[in-house]
C-alpha cells in the first residue's frame, strides 16, 4: 500500500477511535475527493476532509482538533511520504473528550433499541399492594423504595394523546382519493362505484420535561430523574431539560439505558446542580436556544418546579405565557402541593399561574398515577379554540 492510502486509513481509524462514524464508503469518497484538490495546500485538504467526513455541527470543533494533530504529526500526510506512524497521533486525539463522550453515548443508545419498554399495563393492580408507598413523600424514599417506584412508573401508560399530522394516508376520511378512484373506475368500465378516501395520519404527541433542580428542589430531584429516565424509555419521544440558574439539555444522557451511567452522564452535564433558582431566565434560555427544535410538533410540556423564584415576576410571567402559546398543553407540576399549609403564594408563581393549563402535585407516586391518567384524558380534550374538532364539540361556542 502507498503512504497516501496508509495515512488515509490511519486518519479514518483515528477518527473512529475519537467517536466519529466513518463508513468505508466515506473513505472511498475521500480518496476521490483528495484527487480533486491541491494536496499541498492544507486549507483545501482540510475542507475536503471535513465536508466528506463530518455530518453534524457539534462535531466541527473536535474534527478540527484531530485534523490538526494528524497534520502536525505527519507533516502533510497526503502529499509527502509520512515520517511517523499513526500511533503518535493517537495521543493527540486522546485530548478530545467531547467526541469520545459522544461515541460512548452512541454505543449505548444503539444497545437500548432491543428489549425496549414493554407496553405498560394498567397501574391500578399494584395499587393496593403499594398503598402506603404511594402516598409517601418522595423526599423520604429509601433506595429500595426508589426501585419499587421505578417499577410502578413502568406500569403506567404515558400517552399524552395524538396529534393529527398534515400527511394524508389511505383510510376513512374527508378527502377523496382521486388517484385510486380513477384507477378503479377503469376496472369497472369508467364508472365510480365506491369513492375511496384519505384521512390525516396521527402521531403520538411528544413530551417535553423542564425540570427544576435547584437547591430547594434537591430532595425531589433524584426521584424526578428516575421519572424522566423511565418515561423517556417508555414514551420514546421525550425531551428533557434541567435548570437551576442555567438550562441544560439532558435528553441524550438520559437515553443511556443503564440508570447509574445515565445519572453520571447527567450530573456531569449539568454545571449548577442544586444552585439558586431563576425560572424566568432559564425559560428564556429555553426559548432562545431550544424551542424551535423541540416545540414544533405540538408537545405536552411538563414544567416541574416548586416555584421559588428569586427573579423578576414579570419575566417569569412573560416566559410562561410564551411557553403556553407555543405548546399543546402546559402542565406545571409542583412537589409542594399537598404538603400541609401550602398555597402558591410566591409572587412569581402568582403571576405565571394564569398561563398554566394544569397545576398539579408531584410529590408522591399517587400523584404520578393521577398525572398519567390526566395525560390520557387531556389527549382528546383540546384547549378551547384549538382546531376544528374542539370547536365542533362545543356547540355553544359557535354562536
Amino acid at each position: 500500500m502507498t503512504t497516501f492510502t496508509n495515512n488515509l486509513l490511519a486518519f479514518g481509524r483515528l477518527l473512529r477511535r475519537s467517536g466519529f462514524e466513518v463508513p468505508v464508503g466515506n473513505v472511498l469518497d475521500l480518496t476521490e475527493a483528495l484527487t480533486l484538490v491541491n494536496l499541498t495546500v492544507r486549507d483545501e485538504v482540510f475542507h475536503a476532509c471535513r465536508t466528506v467526513l463530518v455530518r453534524r455541527h457539534d462535531q466541527l470543533a473536535a474534527f478540527e482538533k484531530i485534523f490538526d494533530a494528524f497534520w502536525r504529526q505527519h507533516g502533510n500526510p497526503f502529499a509527502a511520504p509520512a515520517t511517523n506512524t499513526a500511533r503518535d497521533a493517537q495521543a493527540a486525539a486522546a485530548s478530545v473528550p467531547v467526541a469520545s463522550a459522544a461515541m460512548h453515548d452512541g454505543e449505548l443508545r444503539d444497545g437500548e433499541q432491543e428489549g425496549g419498554g414493554e407496553p405498560p399495563a394498567s397501574g391500578l393492580q399494584i395499587w393496593s399492594d403499594a398503598a402506603a408507598l404511594a402516598r409517601k413523600d418522595f423526599a423520604e424514599f429509601t433506595p429500595l423504595e426508589v426501585a419499587e417506584a421505578r417499577a410502578f412508573i413502568d406500569r403506567l401508560a404515558w400517552i399524552p394523546g395524538e396529534r393529527r399530522t398534515r400527511r394524508w394516508v389511505r383510510g376513512r376520511g374527508p378527502r377523496v382519493d382521486l388517484r385510486r378512484a380513477l384507477s378503479r373506475s377503469l376496472r369497472t368500465g369508467g364508472d365510480v362505484l365506491v369513492i375511496p378516501t384519505r384521512r390525516r395520519r396521527v402521531r403520538l404527541r411528544p413530551l417535553v420535561l423542564l425540570c427544576d433542580v435547584s437547591g430547594s428542589m434537591e430532595r425531589y430531584s433524584r426521584m424526578l430523574l428516575h421519572f424522566a429516565h423511565r418515561v423517556g424509555h417508555l414514551h420514546g419521544r421525550l425531551e428533557v431539560f434541567l435548570f437551576s440558574t442555567t438550562l441544560t439539555r439532558v435528553t441524550r444522557q438520559l437515553r443511556i439505558r443503564r440508570l447509574d451511567a445515565a445519572a453520571a452522564a447527567v450530573s456531569e452535564a449539568v454545571p449548577d446542580w442544586s444552585g439558586g433558582t431563576r425560572i424566568g431566565p432559564a425559560l428564556q434560555q429555553f426559548h432562545r436556544r431550544w424551542s424551535r427544535r423541540v416545540l414544533h410538533e405540538g408537545p405536552v410540556v411538563l414544567l416541574i418546579s416548586d416555584g421559588w423564584d428569586r427573579g423578576d415576576p414579570g419575566v417569569l410571567r412573560d416566559e410562561v405565557a410564551r411557553l403556553q402559546r407555543s405548546c399543546h398543553r402546559l402542565i406545571w407540576l409542583n412537589p409542594l402541593i399537598g404538603t400541609v399549609d401550602y398555597a402558591p403564594l410566591t409572587r412569581g408563581l402568582q403571576a405565571a399561574l394564569p398561563f398554566v393549563d394544569d397545576f398539579l402535585p408531584a410529590r408522591t407516586l399517587a400523584d404520578f398515577r393521577e398525572l398519567a391518567l390526566h395525560l390520557s384524558t387531556v389527549a382528546s380534550a383540546a384547549r378551547p379554540g384549538r382546531g376544528r374538532r374542539g370547536v365542533r364539540n362545543q356547540p355553544d361556542r359557535q354562536t
Binding site: 476521490e32 484538490v37 471535513r50 466528506v52 455530518r55 455541527h57 400527511r167 380513477l182 377503469l186 412573560d318
Partner: protein, 306 residues
C-alpha cells in the same frame, strides 16, 4: 453538450474558478463552502447545507445555478409534503374527460384505454421529476429547501431518489436522469435530519460571516448604498448577534436593513434612523422591547467605533 457540461462539473475548472464565478454573481463564498461545492459538482454528490436562518443557504443555490449555466428547480419542504406535490401527479380531471371521450367515440377497450390515460400528456411533473427528466436540454440544480420541515416519510423517499436518481411511476415505468442534477439540501436544524440521508451527502455548516466578509457581501448585494452606511450597519448587526436574542438577525436582515436605509436616502447611521427602522432587523417584539433605548444606543456607539 449537456453531458460534457456536467461531467466536467459544469465547466468549473478549479476551486478558484468556482469562487470567481460566484463572486461575479455577487455571492461571496468562504473557502470551505467553495471546496464543498466544487467537490459536490465533481463527485456528483448532494450538498447538505446547515446554518442559522438567513446566512445565504438558499441564495447559494441560485448563484451556483447561474454560475454553471443550469436551471434552478426549487422544492420548498413542509410537513406532509407528499409524492403528489414533490414528484408527480396525474391530471385526474383531464383523465376523466378523456375517459368519457374514449367511451363515446370508439367504445372502451381496457388495455388501450389504460395506455392512453396514463401517458405523458396527463402527467403533471413536480420539482423532483422535473429535475431528473431525461428530456431536459439544460443541466439542473435541484434545491431541496428546509428539509427539516418535511417529515420522516419524505426523507425516506428522498433517500431512494438521491441514491439512484430515478423515480418509478407505477402506471408509466421508471424515469431515470440522463445526467444527475446538482442537489443542494438546506436545513435550519429545527430537528435533526436522519443520519442515513446525511451520509449520502457532503456536509457544510455555514457560519455567520466575519465583519470584513459581511461588509463585502453587503457591498456586492446592495451596491447603491453608501460605503459608510454599509460598514456601520454591518458593525451594528454584528454587535446585535453578540446579545442574547429570541431571533438573531442573519445576513439577509443586514442586506434588508442597508437597502431600507439606502431607500430612505441615509448615508450614515444614527440613533434616530436605527429606531425608525429597527423592525427590519429585529423581528420579535420581546427583542425590540428589551433593546430599545439605552442598550441600543450603547450598541450603536460600539458599532460606530469599529
Amino acid at each position: 453538450v449537456l453531458s460534457e457540461n456536467l461531467a466536467a462539473g459544469g465547466g468549473v475548472a478549479s476551486i478558484s474558478d468556482l469562487e470567481q464565478r460566484l463572486t461575479e454573481r455577487r455571492y461571496v463564498a468562504d473557502r470551505g463552502l467553495a471546496v464543498s461545492l466544487f467537490l459536490a459538482l465533481r463527485l456528483k454528490r448532494p450538498l447538505f447545507l446547515e446554518g442559522e436562518a438567513g446566512v445565504g443557504k438558499t441564495s447559494l443555490a441560485s448563484a451556483v445555478a447561474e454560475a454553471i449555466g443550469a436551471d434552478l428547480i426549487r422544492l420548498q419542504c413542509y410537513e406532509g409534503l407528499d409524492v403528489t406535490h414533490a414528484v408527480y401527479e396525474w391530471d385526474y380531471a383531464r383523465q376523466l374527460l378523456e375517459l368519457r371521450i374514449l367511451e363515446a367515440t370508439e367504445g372502451l377497450e381496457r388495455a388501450s384505454a389504460r395506455r392512453e390515460l396514463y401517458s405523458d400528456a396527463f402527467l403533471i411533473k413536480r420539482p423532483l421529476l422535473q429535475a431528473i427528466d431525461p428530456a431536459r436540454t439544460r443541466p439542473a440544480v435541484l434545491l431541496i429547501d428546509e428539509i427539516d420541515r418535511a417529515d420522516e416519510e419524505f426523507e425516506g423517499y428522498l433517500l431512494e431518489l438521491l441514491a439512484e436518481f430515478q423515480i418509478t411511476i407505477p402506471e408509466l415505468g421508471t424515469v431515470r436522469a440522463k445526467e444527475p442534477p446538482l442537489v443542494i439540501l438546506t436545513s435550519n436544524r429545527t430537528r435533526e435530519v436522519h443520519d442515513a440521508l446525511k451520509r449520502r451527502c457532503l456536509y457544510q455548516w455555514i457560519e455567520y460571516p466575519s465583519f470584513a466578509k459581511e461588509v463585502e457581501i453587503v457591498r456586492a448585494r446592495v451596491p447603491q448604498a453608501a460605503a459608510q452606511l454599509a460598514r456601520q450597519v454591518t458593525a451594528l448587526v454584528q454587535e446585535l448577534r453578540s446579545v442574547e436574542l429570541y431571533k438573531v438577525p442573519g445576513v439577509s436582515e443586514t442586506l434588508d436593513w442597508v437597502a431600507a436605509l439606502a431607500t430612505l436616502d441615509r448615508r450614515a447611521l444614527d440613533i434616530q434612523a436605527v429606531e425608525e427602522t429597527i423592525g427590519v432587523v429585529l423581528k420579535a417584539k420581546e427583542d425590540i422591547d428589551a433593546l430599545r433605548g439605552e442598550r441600543l444606543a450603547s450598541l450603536l456607539e460600539r458599532a460606530m467605533a469599529r
